[in-house]
Subunit: 245 residues, 2 copies
């Protein structure tokens, strides 16, 4: 068979190819369940094989290795998160930049709380010995941050982001070069200091979510975690440049 035919299952004509695709999908589904219940590092191909009702070696017909399955689950999770964020952002009207920003933040937190193990796979400590293949994970892995950047840039172009405060922290030259590269690469209009603040907003958003999901707050402190997160979101919105309102 030609290599071209093996690509993104655009064909799927023969029953064999369809059965194969379904088996791979089953493996990913079972892997996702194991991931949710036992965590990434405890993901076991043998356990997946047992649940599939098949001997362990048979799984290797469909998935090259444990790392390969991890990559599939990584892409699967990134896309699931990206879909959730896109749906939440898309539910707000196009001009409601602040609403879109808040929707994005809340969607990330909700997905993370609902899927702690998968969130941990994406944003927790890297799995030892596993190196994600950039070519397959980069696109799905950047969906959320690109969405965030898009919202902020659109808001800036619409004049809804306050200009950077005059007493803002100075941006050193090396950092300015990095920020220029980002702006050029993404075709942004926002100035340096707002890009820098945007990066902080980005990392802070996931920092707040990670603390909650990874249990860094004690078990007792902060019962009103959603309120706390929404308060953080409001402050971060101000940091991103949104005017209070």
């Amino acid at each position: 068979m030609t290599d071209a035919a093996t690509n993104a299952d655009a064909g799927l004509r023969t029953p064999r190819e369809r059965a194969r695709a379904r088996t791979v999908a089953d493996i990913v589904r079972l892997g996702r369940e194991h991931l949710a219940t036992h965590g990434a590092a405890a993901l076991s191909l043998r356990a997946v094989a047992r649940d599939l009702g098949v001997v362990s070696s048979a799984v290797y017909r469909y998935v090259a290795s444990r790392d390969e399955l991890l990559t599939l689950l990584l892409v699967d999770a990134y896309n699931d998160l990206g879909d959730a964020v896109d749906a939440a952002v898309g539910a707000k009207s196009e001009g409601d930049f602040s609403g879109r920003f808040h929707a994005l933040g809340l969607a990330v937190r909700e997905w993370a709380v609902r899927e702690p193990a998968r969130y941990g796979l994406l944003f927790g400590s890297p799995v030892p010995g596993y190196r994600a293949p950039a070519g397959r994970t980069e696109a799905p892995g950047t969906r959320v941050v690109y969405s965030l950047v898009g919202i902020l840039d659109d808001a800036y172009r619409a004049g809804e982001l306050a200009p950077p405060p005059a007493d803002a922290a100075v941006v050193p030259p090396a950092l300015a070069a990095d920020l220029d590269a980002v702006r050029a690469g993404l075709g942004l209009a926002v100035p340096d200091s707002l890009i820098a603040n945007g990066v902080l907003v980005w990392t802070s958003l996931f920092g707040a979510v990670s603390f909650e999901v990874f249990g860094q707050y004690g078990p007792d402190t902060f019962k009103a975690r959603e309120d706390l997160f929404e308060h953080h979101l409001h402050v971060l919105a101000g940091l991103a440049g949104f005017r209070r309102g």
Copy 2:
């Protein structure tokens, strides 16, 4: 844990007890090295036993289980980070609250960059199947945040924190109750909105560090990572209430 082992060593009379304490310390040291090179989830008691020049079952004379060793390493890492932070903060004069805040942040980042695996153990995705015994990890695990809270509270009492802006985000009642409990529990003077902002500063600090250590920035974006982090620290200082300058 090194200090504790040394202290225990000094307190123990019989040669047997001292040899035992030294062996436990050796196991922790080897475990720390394995942690640094292979990651937490790949920590193997058998590998530690090999490096110790001993058969695998022998280490169970000194460490009850893999989880027990994990706990020892957790406490060891928490204290190492706490020591680094205390040293950096203590190097600034007592009245230099802003300097102490920046020193804390830089110390956390430096330790994390130097010890990525141990940082991942403390602040990354939880090790599956392992539950840290709160009684043994709570005290060392709260050293950094208590140091941070102390700095901010001292600065507020000295009148060096700007009063919360009038247009700050509203604090809902349930969250206010949580914040009141925190203030009462720690004997703080700072008002609600500054505590809330302090929590955000806390999570954002570790969010920024985690993104860098866990490789969430791409391999190419941001070459001037120290500049980026210092910029973030400046912005976070403003968020905490420090006046610019």
